[in-house]
Amino acid sequence: MPVNVKIPAPLRPLTANLSEVAVENAGTVGAALEELSRRYPALKDKLLDDKGALRRYVNLFKNDEDVRHAQGLGTALKEGDRLTIVPAIAGG
C-alpha cells in the first residue's frame, strides 16, 4: 500500500489535475516529494527551494501532523500514510 499525497487545487494543473497521487516506496517525506517530482517535474519548484528545503510558504502534514514539528523532510512515512500539501493563499 503506497503513501497517498493530497494535491491542493492550485497545484493540480501540475499533476494532470489529480487530487491524490499514490507514491510507492517512500520512506520519508523527502523521498515522497522526490518521487512526486520525478513524475511531475513542474511540482518540484513549487515545493522546494534551490537548496532542496521546503519552501517557507508551503506546509506539509503527515496525516494530521505538521512535518515542521516532526523531522521536516526527514519525517518517516509508512504505507498508508497520507501526506497533505497545504499552500499559502492570499486572495480575498
Binding site: K6, P8, A9, P10, S19, R55, R56, Y57, V58, N59, F61, D64, D66, R68, H69, T84, V86, P87, A88, I89, A90, G91, G92
Partner: protein, 219 residues
C-alpha cells in the same frame, strides 16, 4: 460594546461583514464594526463583492459597505504606519485582504497587540480559515514561515476566485469572529475548502516556539 475590525471589504469581507453584523443584531450583541479598505469598487468585483452594485462602481469600498451596514468606514491602507490607529479598540480582527504582504502584516500586528485574528483566504477553488489567539494558539507564521516572493504565487487578481467560495469562507469568518466575541473560539485549527469537492479535513496547527511573530508572546 464590542468592536470588530475588518481588513478588506472585498470578496471575503463583504459576506463576512454582512453575516457578522446580522448575527450580532440577532443576538442583541452591541457591536461596532470598523471596515478598512483603501480600494474602490470595480465592475469586475460585483459577482462576489455582494454589498456593491453597478451604480457604485468607482466609489470607495469601505464607505459604501459601512453605509449599508451601519459600520464605521476607514478608507485607509493597512500598513505599519496605520496599523496602530486602525486596530485600536478591537476585540477581534478579521483579515480578508487580498495579498500576502497585507496578510502577514495583519498577523504580525495582531499578534504584537495580542488581538484575536480571524484569517480567511481564498484562491481559485481553495479556501482557508484559521482563528488565531496570540500567545495561546498558532499564528499564520507558525503555519507558513513567510510570504512567497512577489509573483511566484498568483494573487486573486490573476488566478481569480470562485464567487460562491467567497460566500462560504466569508460566512465562516463571521462565525469564527462571533465565536471569539462569545469567548468560544475554535482556534489553532486550519479549516479548508476545496470547492471542487466540498470541505476537506481540518488540520490542527501547533504553535512554533521559534515563530518570528508569536514565539516571544507569552502564553
Amino acid at each position: 460594546m464590542k468592536t470588530a475590525v475588518l481588513l478588506g471589504a472585498g470578496g471575503l469581507g463583504c459576506p463576512a461583514a454582512l453575516a457578522l453584523r446580522d448575527e450580532a443584531r440577532a443576538r442583541g450583541l452591541s457591536l461596532q464594526l470598523v471596515i478598512v479598505d483603501d480600494d474602490r469598487i470595480d465592475g469586475s468585483n460585483l459577482s462576489r463583492q455582494i454589498l456593491y452594485t453597478a451604480a457604485e462602481v468607482g466609489l470607495p469600498k469601505a464607505e459604501v459597505a459601512a453605509r449599508k451596514l451601519g459600520a464605521v468606514a476607514r478608507v485607509a491602507r493597512f500598513d505599519a504606519s496605520t496599523a496602530a490607529a486602525l486596530l485600536a479598540g478591537a476585540d477581534v480582527v478579521l483579515d480578508g485582504t487580498d495579498n500576502f504582504e497585507a496578510r502577514f502584516r495583519a498577523n504580525d500586528e495582531a499578534v504584537a497587540r495580542r488581538l484575536p485574528l480571524v484569517h480567511g483566504a481564498a484562491l481559485g477553488w481553495t479556501g482557508q480559515l484559521l482563528t488565531i489567539l496570540p500567545g495561546r494558539t498558532a499564528c499564520l507564521r507558525c503555519l507558513f514561515e513567510g510570504p512567497p516572493p512577489e509573483g511566484s504565487v498568483p494573487a486573486c487578481a490573476e488566478a481569480g476566485v470562485l464567487s460562491p467560495l467567497c460566500g462560504l469562507v466569508g460566512a465562516a469568518m463571521a462565525r469564527a469572529a462571533m465565536q471569539v466575541l462569545l469567548g468560544a473560539a475554535e482556534a489553532g485549527v486550519l479549516s479548508r475548502w476545496d470547492a471542487l469537492r466540498g470541505t476537506e479535513r481540518p488540520l490542527a496547527v501547533k504553535r512554533d516556539p521559534s515563530c518570528a511573530a508569536c514565539g516571544r508572546v507569552a502564553s
